[in-house]
């Protein structure tokens, strides 16, 4: 021990050779807790930093609204506020992105869609809209987004069509073909995937296949201009007489723009659509709050903005009625019917205005027109039943009530009306049954209940 100790002491006093010192492991071991602590702190800090960055909300993009149209600026500012109020709402980010996209603030919209997708990775719309934004400028990046979107919803045909076109634009013809085939699988009722596949056959100069595909497309959409034109051209290039019929000739000469695949997601962010949606929202909100003046102004502005829409006119008429200006409502609805003669809602609304001005026959005709245009229009059938009853046409009334119920079995008023009419005809058991249905469909409403009690009482009195 003694011999050993001085030696050890000596060794410890003098610096040992670096690689041979037996005391080094022991010394390191003694410092290990501190090192471990430091490492742990470092790792924690790194994790915290990464997680903070992963979950961090990007700076909300704010384009320069100052020079923008006031309606656009107002709508955009409102949706911006929604994002600021709810920074973790994917929907708020997405909707803000939509309005930015609609007004061509594309790079700002892209930030929003990316954040919306991060907050709700299961929603297909956000990567899809981001892809659409990118595919005219950055098709490679667009493809990444389309691929994310297709994993979330593989049954949305427009997505496969757009993806196919992007691939075609990158000269990746085989992949484009596969994408168009997916579009066809997703929606067999559209000619567009078949046209796209025919186009690929044309690129490969396989005019026989192109012709066959276009024949198929023609069977799906016999009046589609693109189908007719491309089929004619394909037949010509195949070397056969294209045999132009009237439809083909008209298609070739018409000059009308080709139809495109209907795309609900994309069309919802159409510039006018977004602005109109916002304007409608504002007007509806004013009407709900009882601010009829603001609501009327909103609907008038919307009619100017979207003259092709019937709804703002109907809502405006409703506001006029609520504010006691029946003649104005009547004029508005008459104009709506003239402008939209094929719109059942317009005829239906007009009928009430006519009824309000004691024009019962005209009201009934409008209701008949409404149900002719829309045979499953339950409210219109109900209204027609009322008209028929007023005219003493009980059979028609009963039939209309039944059609109203057939169109919407939950329409309590129709059950009640049917019941009361049957009661008048002395069909008391059927009447009780119908009124009972009305009571069950509107449990809190005392009126049907009162009629039910009376009907039951009448039934009891009349029992043999």
């Amino acid at each position: 021990m003694n011999n050993g100790t001085p030696e050890n002491s000596k060794q410890m006093d003098s610096p040992p050779p670096a690689s041979t010192s037996p005391s080094m492991p022991e010394k390191t071991w003694k410092n290990r807790p501190i090192l471990l602590l430091l490492v742990a702190v470092g790792v924690s800090a790194a994790i915290w930093f990464i997680s903070q960055n992963l979950n961090s909300t990007p700076k909300v993009p704010k384009p320069d609204f100052t020079t923008a149209n006031s309606n656009v600026a107002l709508a955009t500012a409102q949706l911006l506020k929604a994002v600021e109020d709810k920074p973790n709402s994917a929907e708020a980010w997405g909707q803000y992105g939509e309005i930015l996209m609609a007004h061509e603030w594309n790079s700002e919209a892209l930030i929003c869609f990316d954040q919306a997708a991060k907050l709700n990775p299961k929603e297909m719309r956000w990567p899809y809209l981001a892809a659409i934004l990118l595919d005219r400028q950055e098709p490679i990046l667009a493809l990444d987004k389309y691929d994310i979107a297709k994993e979330l919803d593989s049954g949305y045909a427009p997505l496969w069509m757009r993806r196919g076109n992007t691939l075609l634009g990158l000269n990746r013809t085989d992949e484009a073909e596969a994408s168009f085939k997916k579009a066809l699988e997703a929606d067999k009722n559209q000619p567009f995937p078949l046209i796209a596949l025919a186009r690929i056959a044309g690129i490969r100069e396989n005019w026989k296949m192109a012709t066959e595909l276009l024949e198929q497309a023609k069977s799906v959409a016999p009046k589609n201009r693109e189908v007719l034109v491309e089929l004619t051209r394909s037949r010509m290039l195949l070397g056969v007489n294209p045999m132009l019929g009237q439809a083909e000739q008209s298609a070739i000469l018409s000059g009308q723009r080709y139809d495109t695949m209907p795309d609900e997601i994309y069309s919802a962010i159409n510039e006018q659509e977004v602005a109109a949606r916002f304007a409608a929202m504002q007007a509806d909100s004013a009407a709900a709050k009882g601010d009829l003046q603001a609501a009327a102004e909103g609907y008038v502005a919307l009619i100017k903005q979207r003259p092709e829409m019937v709804r703002p006119r109907l809502n405006l008429a409703s506001v006029f009625l609520q504010s006691g200006q029946a003649p104005l409502a009547l004029t508005t609805l008459k104009e709506a019917v003239q402008l939209f003669p094929e719109d059942a809602r317009a005829h239906y609304a007009y009928s009430y205005a006519l009824e309000g001005s004691q024009q019962f026959e005209a009201a009934r005709r409008e209701r008949e027109e409404a149900v002719r245009l829309k045979p499953d229009f339950a409210e219109a059938h109900f209204a027609l039943a009322i008209s028929a009853e007023r005219d003493g046409d009980v059979d028609q009334a009963i039939q209309s009530y039944r059609l109203a119920i057939q169109s919407d079995i939950r329409l309590a008023r129709a059950h009640l009306g049917l019941g009361l009419t049957l009661q008048k005809l002395g069909k008391l058991e059927q009447a009780v049954e119908a009124i009972d249905a009305a009571v069950k469909l509107s449990p809190g409403d005392p009126v049907p209940k009162r009629y039910l009690d009376k009907a039951k009482e009448l039934l009891e009195k009349n029992r043999p």
Binding site: R199, E205, G255, Y258
Partner: protein, 608 residues
């Protein structure tokens, strides 16, 4: 209403009959057969042509060691600056720019320059057009006043041609306002003969082209008209800011075709024109024309008319024996892009880009769309092959207007120069050569070299003044401004200087410059097709100065020959009189040649 009524009476029978009789089929025309068989018959025993891509080149560099397209505007004393007038009204013509023309006004064998100006819309007095004569040392002198070309209206485009076959070049100006026709006195001074000549186009004329559609030896005139725009129209961009109107919100118009009746016996001073828009069938379709190119597209020996429409289907007016025109663009594959979309078609050129002996079409477009290469698969049949040619992605961010197709490096393949500039507010570029107002519209120009297999953008390589400038460019015209055997060019800019670029590109081969003259007519044979036989290879070019956007090019046909030190023959398909193909003997490369009708060997056709 008037045009709608006309549209409703489209002659369906004509279309039916032409399709039924297979006239659309490319192999129906004897002329066509001759055209494509003669090169092989002449060189009996020749093997088939080399496949596309045989004339390859490789610069072997990732950047150019010296400037390739050098801005020599100041060096040339060219001081033209486009004046769009007061911009408060965001008037649409102001964003459409204006054209230019290279032509020899005085017969001194060098190119002079006509630049079209804008000036105040609706203002009286002279417009902003300027005529420059090239003088010693390559300097340009403004001779506008002396030349007598001052005129009103807001200037757009120009077409050049000898309308009276007197040996000097006349020109036609399109305007937002009444178009004007100027006749050359012979010394570079001009007289406005618009009314005397019977031309009245009050619509918004854009591109125009002289061509002899009826083969009577007198140059006829086609004018593309754009939209029905009124200065009071107010338009906004997507965010509601005031911006220039686009074509979608405006009605289209009808292009006009004027037949040159020549000089009547009682009138020897100038030609008379007759408006045959309606009887020719051109009035059947309303369009939004910005680009025009006249040539025989279907190989039947009759001149046809391609019209590039902004935002709508292009027209290809194919001419028939009865001098009626039928729009066959959609059936011939040049109306829409490969996705079936109508694009914003602006400038147009036609050349054989893939060296297969068939002329292709290239059309410039809006940002977000790609410039389209309609490649001929058969005579008169085209397919969008832009992507395969490598021209799509690089063009997506830019709005292309002017375009020149020429072999800038003499490797034997046709290259492309494109003038870009936005029409809608975009993000301001980092480097700009324009003021704050125009900064949202300024873009880089683009230059592509064709290596025989496809195109490669040269912009990334830098070293070129042409691609470095960031302006709102519009027309791009080309010509050998210094007579050194290569193709130089000039770009016009909205509210900016016209810039002249000298071609200092590293040359990879030899060249020929060919003038084709009809001595009886005392003028260039506009509309002639010229074939140059080089060994087994046949290079096909058109003599057609009116192409691109609003401009007019040098009438000499420039050809890059690659490594070939000699050419074996030149064949000319004369565009007027009876069908005639004439061959001229071969010679050394690197020279300017003038071939005169009647001095060669007749290969086929009816001589006059």
């Amino acid at each position: 209403m008037q045009w709608a009524a006309i549209h409703a009476h489209v002659n369906l029978d004509l279309l039916q009959s032409l399709v039924a009789s297979q006239r659309i089929s490319p192999l129906s025309s004897q002329m066509h057969l001759l055209r494509y068989l003669i090169p092989f018959l002449v060189l009996a025993g020749c093997a088939s042509k080399l496949p596309p891509g045989n004339a390859t080149k490789s610069t072997g560099t990732d950047s150019y060691q010296q400037p390739c397209l050098v801005d020599i505007t100041k060096l040339s004393s060219l001081d033209f600056v486009h004046d769009p007038g007061d911009l408060d009204g965001f008037s649409m013509p102001q964003i459409m720019g204006s054209g230019a023309a290279f032509f020899d006004i005085d017969g001194d064998q060098d190119l002079d320059l006509l630049l079209i100006g804008g000036k105040q819309l609706g203002a009286n007095g002279s417009g902003g057009d300027r005529l420059y004569r090239q003088e010693a040392g390559g300097k340009f002198a403004d001779i506008t006043q002396w030349a007598g070309i001052a005129t009103g209206g807001y200037g757009m485009g120009v077409a050049v041609g000898d309308i009276d076959n007197d040996g000097d070049l006349d020109f036609f100006l399109t305007r937002y306002g009444a178009d004007r026709l100027f006749q050359n006195r012979g010394d570079g001074r001009f007289d406005d003969i618009t009314e005397k000549a019977g031309i009245t186009n009050l619509q918004w004329g854009t591109a125009a082209s002289f061509f002899d559609f009826d083969r009577d030896g007198w140059l006829d005139l086609f004018i593309a008209n754009y939209v029905d725009f009124y200065p009071g129209s107010v338009c906004e961009d997507g965010s509601g800011r005031r911006d220039f109107c686009g074509p979608k919100s405006l009605l289209g118009t009808v292009g006009r075709l004027y037949r040159n009746l020549g000089k009547p016996a009682t009138q020897t001073v100038h030609s008379q024109f007759e408006d045959i828009t309606v009887p020719s069938g051109i009035a059947r379709r309303v369009g939004k024309g910005l680009g025009v190119l006249c040539k025989d597209f279907n190989g039947d020996g009759l001149m046809d008319i391609f019209v590039a429409n902004d935002g709508e289907e292009n027209f290809l007016w194919v001419q028939y024996e009865n001098q009626m025109f039928s729009n066959e663009a959609i059936l011939r594959g040049v109306a829409l892009n490969r996705f079936g979309e109508a694009q914003a078609n602006m400038g147009v050129v036609s050349e054989d880009f893939n060296d297969d002996g068939l002329s292709d079409l290239f059309v410039t477009h809006l940002a977000g769309e790609y410039n389209t290469l309609f490649q001929a698969s058969q005579v008169g049949q085209f397919s969008d092959r832009t992507v395969a040619a490598g021209l799509s992605l690089s063009s997506l961010p830019f709005t292309g207007f002017g375009v020149a197709a020429a072999d800038f490096d003499h490797d034997g393949d046709v290259d492309l120069a494109i003038a870009n500039g936005g029409v809608k507010r975009g993000r301001p570029a980092e480097k700009k050569d324009v003021n704050a107002f125009w900064s949202d519209y300024a873009q880089h120009n683009e230059f592509y070299l064709n290596d025989g297999k496809g195109f490669e953008s040269q912009r990334r390589l830098g070293g070129s003044d042409f691609t470095e400038h960031t302006e709102v460019s519009r027309s791009l015209i080309h010509g050998d401004i210094d007579n050194d055997g290569d193709v130089d060019f000039l770009v016009t800019n909205c509210a900016g200087p016209a810039r002249l670029y000298r071609n200092d590109f590293p040359k990879l081969g030899n060249w020929l410059s060919i003038s084709a003259i009809d001595p009886l007519l005392k003028r260039s044979a506009i509309g002639a097709e010229i074939q140059i036989q080089v060994g087994e290879r046949v290079i096909t070019r058109d003599l057609n100065p009116s192409s691109g956007y609003l401009g007019c090019n040098d009438t000499r046909v420039h050809v890059g020959l690659g490594k070939a030190a000699r050419y074996d023959a030149i064949r000319v398909y004369w565009p007027n009189g009876g069908t005639e193909i004439e061959e001229f003997p071969g010679g050394d490369s690197n020279q300017t040649i003038t071939v005169k009708r009647g001095s060669g060997r007749i290969l086929a056709g009816d001589t006059r």
